[in-house]
């Protein structure tokens, strides 16, 4: 071998025995809080319980040991599962066909926007509400679109007049999540779709909040043309410490031809069904290496079979009921910037409390985690000051909901009587409040930055 082509620096990574490894990671795992550890009301993330059966089926050797490029005759089981999953997702949303290629919600947005560009090649603007998740404007701009913000009205819904004033022949689409990030249903959704469609633009549904509607509403009937779902939210696949997720994109009939590589088709011949993969010549092209996060799709499909339509009705119903129950109880003492009854989540503001006591949303979050629970999403959506965004999901029982309220009230009282305690929290976790400024100013991003070895 030519020396020049070989590694020049010494490879130096310590090996560990199995017992050492298991002890090490088990110890680390004690210092991680998951859905299995306790209440995780992280708004917008739908941290529902992850059924055990999901993991069991995703670890079957007939899935884990299959190569994506084996002869298609030998991978019919995987293709069929993907086909049936897409069909079920279409049934739930009213869309015509879809793809499992996107690896997360944001990649779904990226894919959907590529489709919008293909379908509306002359148009350069994407509208996003001021309450939108950061990935919406980011996905639009990484796709080369200009982002124009649509304001919310006093009720927290899309301001129709503002929308009208921003619609013009350069607008390619509107990205919307419904219920929106305040947890409020966009009751004008059909009017919004009408306005957007009359303008020749397309409606994109960010399915992050689909848990509120699953089994109740096909969003195609709201006028949406393209959407992504988050299998790691609504469809109970675990979040894995940040991923892998899966962000399938589904479209109405007119847009099917633009879907990315590869589309799975069912062919029936002599009463025998087989599955094949094809691509339309109008396709936007490839957006990920193979079929996306296939094992995540397996877990989501197990969940769909377990729940079915009756189960999903109960999911959305209970998710909304739990959130509204919390909203009602907490509204007795907390300031709700938007008073309307919420859907699956709601946002309260501690701005007033901060004025009076200097206690912030961050202080609240850090105090909550001292009580064996995760914190709600904070400082999002951006239109609410000192926001706490609370999403209980349907998988929490009444005791958990009540305890959470009691705890919130306790902390509220303490904000007035002993704000120092909130400012100093957390004190029970293995580290206290973290110096994030130092982390940015003097970045240590690997063991080598501190002169050590791995």
């Amino acid at each position: 071998m030519k020396n020049n082509l070989l590694r020049q620096s010494e490879l130096s990574m310590k090996a560990f025995s199995e017992p050492e490894l298991v002890r090490y990671f088990t110890e680390l795992s004690y210092r991680v809080f998951g859905v299995s550890s306790g209440f995780y009301p992280l708004g917008s993330c739908t941290m529902k319980y992850n059924p055990a059966i999901n993991e069991k089926v995703a670890s079957l050797a007939g899935f884990t040991g299959i190569h994506p490029l084996q002869d298609i005759k030998k991978t019919q089981g995987s293709l069929r599962l993907m086909y049936e999953l897409i069909s079920s997702l279409c049934a739930l949303t009213g869309m015509k066909d879809g793809t499992l290629a996107p690896c997360a919600g944001a990649q779904g947005e990226y894919t959907g926007l590529k489709i919008i560009r293909k379908a509306r090649p002359e148009r350069k603007v994407i509208l996003v509400p001021d309450s939108a998740h950061g990935t919406n404007p980011a996905s639009a701009s990484v796709n080369g679109f200009k982002v124009v913000q649509v304001n919310s009205d006093l009720n927290g819904l899309v301001d129709l007049n503002d929308l009208k004033s921003k619609l013009n022949s350069d607008v390619a689409g509107l990205m919307l999540t419904n219920p929106n990030t305040l947890g409020l249903y966009e009751f004008n959704i059909e009017k919004i779709s009408d306005l957007v469609h009359k303008n020749g633009a397309l409606m994109y549904y960010d399915g992050a909040n689909f848990n509120a509607l699953i089994g109740q509403v096909k969003v195609s009937e709201n006028g949406f043309d393209i959407l992504h779902l988050n299998l790691h939210k609504t469809f109970s696949t675990p979040h894995g410490g940040g991923g892998p997720g899966s962000g399938p994109v589904l479209v109405v009939e007119d847009l099917v031809k633009y879907l990315p590589y590869r589309i799975i088709k069912k062919v029936t011949k002599n009463n025998k069904e087989t599955y094949s993969v094809t691509t339309d010549k109008n396709s936007i092209g490839r957006i990920s290496m193979f079929y996306g996060n296939f094992l995540v799709a397996v877990k989501a499909y197990a969940y769909i079979l377990s729940m079915g339509l009756d189960g999903f009705k109960l999911v959305s119903e209970t998710a909304v009921l739990n959130a509204r129950y919390l909203q009602r109880k907490l509204s007795e003492k907390f300031f709700m910037p938007y008073k309307s009854p919420c859907m699956h989540e709601f946002v309260l503001s501690l701005d007033d409390l901060k004025e009076k006591t200097s206690v912030t949303a961050l202080d609240f979050a850090k105090s909550l985690i001292d009580y064996k629970m995760y914190a709600p999403t904070i400082y999002f959506p951006l239109i609410v000051k000192e926001a706490l965004m609370i999403e209980p999901t349907e998988t929490e029982n009444l005791d958990t909901l009540n305890n959470f309220c009691d705890l919130m009230f306790d902390l509220l009282d303490k904000s007035f009587t002993n704000s120092k305690e909130l400012k100093e929290a957390p004190t029970l976790s293995d580290v206290g409040r973290i110096d994030e400024v130092k982390a940015v100013k003097e970045p240590i991003l690997s063991v080598y930055d501190e002169g050590e070895k791995i």
């Binding site: 199995e18 680390l28 899935f63 990935t135 349907e394 009444l398 206290g432 994030e436």
Partner: protein
């Protein structure tokens, strides 16, 4: 009661009463309901047998296919650790104080990537190698004003090339593909465009060949352009690192390091960069700092780059990533250490050379780059498409996946440490039989 929804009828009524409603349908007042056609739920045993049946329709084979997905042995402890519930069911560690264990794991993952690639800074995962390549292109574009060109080597995996082309649609950017000579990138410095933003090459390349980039970094940097290398982190136990070639960015797939084939995903893309690009790198990054009592601890850092802060001015839209896969990589590397990893990489090298030589001896079969340096993967050419397909289907009958069909005459064959002598002999025998 639904097994996943802990609520009795009584509790439901109590909650409804508290919010002043009579029944649950009032929760959706003003929402137009749809008629939905989907079967009702089935019980867990039925779910298991149905999905198990689907898994059994798939045919497990002895895998000689690679092309971005490699059949390495995965120590059982990797599965054991990655199924620990708290790791599995937590999300992005926003609340760092109760996520220290996971943050430490990502910090170690970043350290491994930095060490393997010979660069300075790594993020804590991207979706896959194609996504990582696209993000590298995006970084280079952000360094340029106005129109820019990106040059990809013609020996980059074609799926990565397609993803970059998809990405470039609608952007002020041209994607050029370099020529290929003897299976390797031919970067002709005479024809580099003036507005060059990035040259992105791959080694081991799509044919498994190790490319020589002597002098390339200088040429590229003189053009005020970035130099990116796509690689496989396992190969870096043996071969010259992107850092040693003078690259600014390195990306790749970490699938080789403890992630099962799984019909193509979930895998994981890595990215590492020179320190000067630290604030350009997309995705989550973990940093070490101290808490309010001076104790060392970890936190997500440099977040000013990210979508939740910068929105439409963010350099990337990524939010969720492939965290659990990065955890698998970390366990795998801690298990093997340098010598373990080197030995596996070396076995891949030796076994693929062995099979390539044996196949090359068969008349009617050519391994075109047999005298060149390749790792874990090589191209095999046949005299006709018919013969190639016959070889493929005969091996298929013996439950061997022969490789990945390339153009008309070729197969791309991959041999990992997992392939036994027996399996290789069987492969050789079948090929001999077909060509007799």
């Amino acid at each position: 009661m639904n097994k996943y929804i802990p609520q009795t009828e009584e509790e439901k009524l109590l909650k409804l009463k508290r919010i002043g409603l009579k029944n649950t349908s009032e929760l959706f007042d003003g929402v137009k309901k749809s008629k939905i056609e989907l079967a009702n739920g089935i019980n867990e045993q039925e779910v298991f047998s149905y999905i198990n049946e689907l898994s059994e329709i798939n045919k497990k084979e002895i895998i000689f296919a690679g092309f971005g997905s490699y059949d390495h042995y995965i120590p059982a402890v990797v599965d054991k650790v990655s199924s620990i519930d708290s790791f599995l069911t937590t999300y992005t560690p926003y609340q760092a104080e109760i996520s220290q264990g996971l943050l430490r794991v990502f910090f170690e993952y970043q350290s491994y990537i930095v060490h393997l690639t010979g660069l300075d800074v790594s993020n804590s995962s991207l979706y896959d190698v194609a996504d990582a390549a696209v993000e590298a292109c995006a970084i280079s574009l952000s360094q340029k004003k106005g129109h820019a060109s990106i040059l990809l080597s013609g020996t980059v995996h074609p799926n990565i090339i397609s993803c970059v082309k998809t990405w470039a649609q609608g952007l002020d950017c041209t994607v050029l593909i370099s020529e290929v000579k003897n299976g390797k990138a031919l970067i002709d410095k005479e024809v580099l465009p003036d507005d060059l933003a990035l040259v992105l090459v791959q080694s081991p390349n799509v044919y498994g060949l190790i490319e020589d980039y002597t002098g390339l970094a200088d040429i590229i940097h003189k053009r005020k352009s970035l130099f990116g290398i796509i690689t496989d982190p396992m190969s870096l136990a043996i071969f010259r690192t992107p850092g040693e070639w003078g690259a600014d960015i390195s990306v790749g797939s970490t699938q080789s390091l403890g992630i099962p084939l799984s019909f193509g995903g979930p895998y994981c893309g890595f990215m590492s960069v020179k320190r000067e690009f630290m604030r350009k790198i997309p995705g989550r990054i973990v940093g070490k700092t101290i808490d309010n009592q001076g104790r060392p601890c970890y936190v997500l850092t440099l977040q000013a780059r990210e979508q939740h802060i910068k929105r439409e001015r963010a350099s990337s839209n990524i939010c969720s990533n492939q965290a659990l896969m990065a955890l698998r990589n970390t366990v795998y590397l801690k298990y093997h250490g340098s010598s373990g990893l080197y030995n596996i990489a070396d076995l891949c090298l030796k076994k693929s050379i062995y099979l390539a030589k044996e196949l090359n001896k068969i008349s009617g079969v050519t391994v075109p780059f047999i005298n060149d340096l390749f790792w874990r993967e090589f191209r095999v050419d046949f005299i006709s498409k018919e013969i190639r397909d016959k070889v493929y289907s005969s091996l298929s009958k013996a439950n061997i996946c022969a490789g990945v069909k390339l153009s008309n005459l070729s197969l791309l064959v991959s041999v990992t440490e997992k392939r036994s002598e027996d399996e290789m002999s069987k492969y050789i025998d079948v090929v001999k039989r077909v060509l007799k």
